[in-house]
Assembly symmetry: C2
Homo-oligomer: 255 residues x 2
């Protein structure tokens, strides 16, 4: 096979096996693997290493049917509908495969990051919100629009961390949050991206009319599957926390 282009390091870089906890929802989990492969490709290019199959870190994706995260956050008095046990079982199975670094391909699921990390002290579980904040700080962003699930909004997972980092955050109004949920559940989760944007688009428009921020954080892994195609999002800087997390996981996977 001829190898065109710049001279490449012949050494295959050292890698660490990593895991991805997905299924929340499954389309977002699949897309996260795509993003991770893309992030690994960028790592290889940056290192001047050949982009060949054998240079990618071994990685495992667990797509598990976990209970709905937003419903569980809304009903803390019903621990039986929490996704924590399902997530914990998958992390334990990843651990049994010798995986020591895990990323969770779902923003809302990070509500359970702390108990999950406590249960599995031998596995490092990356944190999508911390990684996103670090990314925004590095880019000098001081003000963002935030679109997420009801569960993520209710938990203030992003809001608290953004405010602590000195970044102003503007969120949709209650009825707009409901529209975002409809876009996620009736659009993306059913494979209908145009339907999703019929819900997402007007919310973005309303946010832009109320606030001058030029950066929007798509804080649910389902939103970036549709929103970048919405006309109302054109001209905005769209931050995809899943892409930020995929890059962090790739950085961990190359020693």
């Amino acid at each position: 096979m001829s190898q065109a282009g710049a001279p490449l390091s012949s050494a295959v870089p050292q890698t660490r096996k990593v895991g991805i906890l997905g299924g929340m929802g499954p389309a977002a989990g699949a897309d996260f693997v795509r993003l991770f492969v893309q992030a690994c490709t960028e790592q290889l290019r940056r290192r001047g290493a050949a982009v060949v199959d054998q240079a990618f870190p071994e990685h495992w994706l667990a797509q598990i049917p976990a209970p709905d995260r937003t419903s569980a956050i809304a009903a803390p008095e019903r621990p039986e509908i929490s996704p924590l046990d399902a997530m914990s079982h998958a992390v334990q199975q990843l651990h049994s495969l010798d995986v020591r670094i895990v990323a969770i391909a779902c923003n809302t699921a990070h509500y359970w990051h702390q108990p999950l990390q406590q249960r599995h002290s031998q596995v490092r579980i990356l944190h999508i919100i911390n990684e996103t904040i670090a990314h925004l700080q590095q880019a000098g962003v001081r003000e963002v629009l935030l679109m997420a699930t009801q569960g993520t909004h209710r938990s203030r997972l992003y809001d608290s961390a953004l405010e602590a980092a000195g970044i102003a955050v503007h969120t949709p109004l209650p009825h707009e949050r409901e529209q975002v949920m409809q876009g996620i559940f009736e659009g993306v989760k059913r494979g209908r991206l145009d339907v999703a944007n019929q819900y997402f688009g007007p919310v973005v428009q309303a946010l832009r009319q109320r606030h001058a921020a030029d950066t929007l954080v798509m804080a649910c892994t389902e939103i970036p599957l549709a929103l970048p195609q919405a006309s109302q999002a054109q001209g905005l800087k769209l931050i995809d926390p899943a892409w930020v997390l995929a890059q962090a996981l790739a950085a961990q996977a190359y020693v």
Copy 2:
């Protein structure tokens, strides 16, 4: 959450855990999960079941850094460069997770399907070529163009099965096969889909000039990531064996 549309069966369908053996290459493995999720969505719609996260079968993707398949087929005297042991180890690990049905997200790797299946008699390993032939027969196709890796061409994996099924098959000339390999290795595997089509496009054009067949089998999981966008492929019926295999896996995953 409001549920719009037709009345849906409230019962979550019974599912079986399934596995995907990927990494050959990693982009194709990631795309196979996307196809599998799409095939499951279609299964749910066909059954009148709600398309919710919890209705998807648990599935695991193993992206392993296996040795190059085409190189191994070209050098049967060098068993040390065969990907069989790496694939076998991954199937064994999938088995340890209670996976009993596996699909391999790589056409060329099916060269080792038989020894792999023999080593793991408790796991049913689907066969991408058998599934594709069944699909072509059902569609009444009698003649196809075939684009694949050098390894797949050399092994005659598809040619023999197509001929046995009474389907005429036309393959690229030796120098065109080399161009297809360059499209795969210098294009798709490096994340450069436009570069891939600079190699793939002229090969498709040459095949169409020589043969009247209106159906092209994209018999390498990397080819469908780029070829559908090539102008020279417009008007052809493109068969993606990965999509056929993903549908077969989804049919197995719903009991």
